[in-house]
């Protein structure tokens, strides 16, 4: 088991956001976390990497409990995180952005170099010295994924990678994610777009108002149109 989340509860100040979240991700698996805006997808990711201070529950990454570790320690174990807002360093060039993400090589995860990433995202290779602030939304999305891959993660949390992108760029994104999967990276991808999720995922969880209300394979989800219609806006 790559990642196992048990009884995760999170609060923002006095507000209780996540209720007893349980998730599992196998080695090399791509798992979708589906749900509407505000359902708790981003908070789940932020809680896993320790960016939400008030949280309880167990988070096992490669069998080790990381729930009491600071963010940088969790991430440098090989748990990569790509935030929804992208958070590119706008003053830094593409290459410098990648440099910030660079971590030592890991035995149980694919090794990414700049050149390998420029092959995966050819657009980035053409603008190595451009500041992050002068890139389009799609290019920034590619850069934020490439930046996380520079850390040679064995698992990546991808928060809404298709959001706000043109169909053409979304296609490239699907290809990139499938390449990552082929290289052996486990992925949890949060999505509102069921179609996109189907193209890349093996299994799916549905989250609604901070609770997991479905977990199963994509085929099982297809067999339950009631759940799909109740919890996902199409």
């Amino acid at each position: 088991m790559k990642l196992s989340v048990q009884d995760l509860n999170s609060h923002y100040g006095p507000a209780h956001i996540l209720f007893d979240i349980a998730l599992e991700v196998g080695d090399g698996e791509v798992v979708a976390l589906l749900g509407r805006n505000g359902a708790g997808k981003s908070t789940t990711f932020r809680s896993i990497v320790g960016l939400v201070e008030q949280r309880s529950g167990r988070i096992l990454f490669e069998g080790k409990d990381v729930s009491h570790q600071p963010t940088h320690a969790i991430v440098s174990r090989g748990l990569g995180y790509v935030p929804e807002e992208r958070r590119i360093f706008t003053e830094l060039t593409v290459e410098e952005n990648l440099e910030v993400g660079r971590q030592p090589r890991r035995s149980n995860a694919p090794h990414w170099t700049r050149e390998k990433l420029f092959a995966l995202f050819p657009n980035l290779g053409e603008m190595r010295n451009r500041p992050g602030g002068r890139m389009s939304g799609g290019e920034q999305q590619m850069l934020t994924i490439a930046r996380t891959l520079m850390g040679n993660p064995s698992l990546v949390l991808l928060d809404e990678p298709s959001e706000g992108l043109s169909p053409k760029i979304v296609e490239q994104m699907v290809d990139a994610i499938l390449t990552m999967k082929k290289e052996g990276v486990s992925i949890v991808v949060s999505e509102q777009n069921l179609h996109f999720a189907k193209l890349i995922s093996d299994r799916a969880y549905i989250i609604e108002r901070g609770r997991i209300c479905f977990g199963g394979t994509m085929a099982e989800l297809d067999g339950r149109p009631d759940i799909r219609d109740a919890h996902l806006s199409l």
């Binding site: 100040g13 960016l51 963010t71 940088h72 830094l92 410098e96 910030v100 971590q103 930046r147």
Partner: protein, 628 residues
Amino acid sequence: MAFYIVQFLTGLASAASLFLVASGLSIIFGVTRIVNFAHGAFYMLGAYVAFTLTDRFSGALGFWGGIVVAALIIAAVGVLVEMALLRRIYHSPELFQLLATFGLTLMVEDLVVLIWGPSELLGRRAPGFKGAVDFFGQNIPSYDLFLIALGPIVLGILWLLFQRTRWGVLVRAATQDRDMVAALGVNQKWLFTSVFAVGVFLAALGGALQIPRDAVHHAMDLRIIVDVFVVVVIGGLGSIIGAFVAAVLVSELNAFGILIFPKISIILVFLVMAAVLIVRPWGLFGKQEGPARRTPGLTVNPWRTLTSGERLAATAALIIAAALPLFSGNYALTIGSEIAIFVIFAASLHFLMAVGGLASFGHAAYFGLGAYGVAFLAKMAGLPMIVSLLLGPLLGCLGAAVFGFFAVQLSGVYFAMLTLAFAQIVWSIAFQWVTVTGGDNGILGVWPEKWAASPSHFYWLSLGIAALMVVGLRIVVFSPFGFALRATRDSPLRSEAIGIDGKRIQWTAFVIAGTVAGVAGALFAYLKGSVFPDSLGISLSVDALVMVLLGGVETISGAVVGAIVYKALNIWLVSQTDLSKLVLGAFIVLIVVAFPKGIVGMLETIRNRRRSASAKSALLASPIETAE
């Protein structure tokens, strides 16, 4: 002509140290978002340690090695400070960070006197740079030429460090988004510590390099920190290039200002700073920041007017205070008057900080202006006491109107730095313009008239005015103006969206606070019978800040309690120890780290907790950041 060129080169040489210290401050601020008030103290420590090392070890190696080793030693001290103190307050409101580092400065000032003694120390000349170069009949010290070359070299090294190393890339990334850097697996703790070490190294190096030029003394920290604040305000906080350009600009203005206004040379720097602030409030090379990030307090605590019971209690306390002359002697009454005056002063700053969200580090300027106003009117114009008392504070009002206009263009740390710089400018004028202010000798013989001359009468006068001022300020807090001011404090954007002219409101608050401080200063002049530049000084501004903090920043009238407790403690402390700054500094650091809510704030929390122990409204006490 040659004379002007030499003057220009002297200015450039002075710019080197200023640039080193200012760039260190900028680098630290960029990543940690802390304006390190203690930066001047590290500069001073660098100079003292370098003095000792170069004195102890002879030869060229002893000198240059001593300079570098001194900077390294102080950088190591900086690392300890960062780990022991700053790590605890990175998430505190910026006011607390400013105060804690200021407390550190005070401690260092006393420690330095304790270790090296109070007298000035003359350092060694630099080996190889002892002579002077003849330039068309004018002499230029060759050490100045060395410093002129050093500035651009350090600038170049810093540029390479930030552009060409992984550390530099990480620092620049963290300057923009600290959390994202952590989310990419970088341990911020050590990044912060290393940045702090580099910044402190630069400050200490700046100090160490000054020893062949200037005497080493225990007040050099405040002198440099004011210049550095002016530099970073002009150049833009966070920009190294800005620090360089502004350091050169300020040094040249100082060098030539002496030729144009020999008595009040600092005026020229002030005019340039004002011009820059109007055109680019965030500095020549700085970037515009979003609106203020946070309220100065720790929690959002709904304010309410006093209940009738509390009103009775306050009135009773006032009556008891008024009965003091019935059972105590003249000395106690003089102290009582002084405490009443400081209640007025602290309440005025508290109004600006707690209600306006504007933490002024130079509030003594308006206190002192009020005092000088009275001295001018009573001594020079010979006006009666009542008229002087009424008109004297207007000088404070005028000063607040002029400086406040510029200060409210900025917020947060910029506001703090600017108010401190303004206060220091007013202090310099009072100190240097001897023909008008008497300079260091002050203005003597400002005694109250017969009707107020006896200690009991003067005490009643001070107490009455203090009560009036505190009640008046409370009325303002709960007036529509007060609500608009609090709205601007909590959310500049939203209050602007409902039609509140934030800048005008804050300016008005600044003028109110300055005028009330002027009232306190006016009374103070009569209490002491004299006025000195000290009444405008930084230490008085800090006293006021500590009174507010001690009472509680989030309270409505905590400053009253804070002023009484602090002033009484202070008078007692000065009679007990020579190291009052050391104790005071440690006290400030302790409050910030351990009791950030202050006396009244803690009492309120305890009362709230008791009242709502069953009602489970931890909501009031839990930290809520203003969303922006």
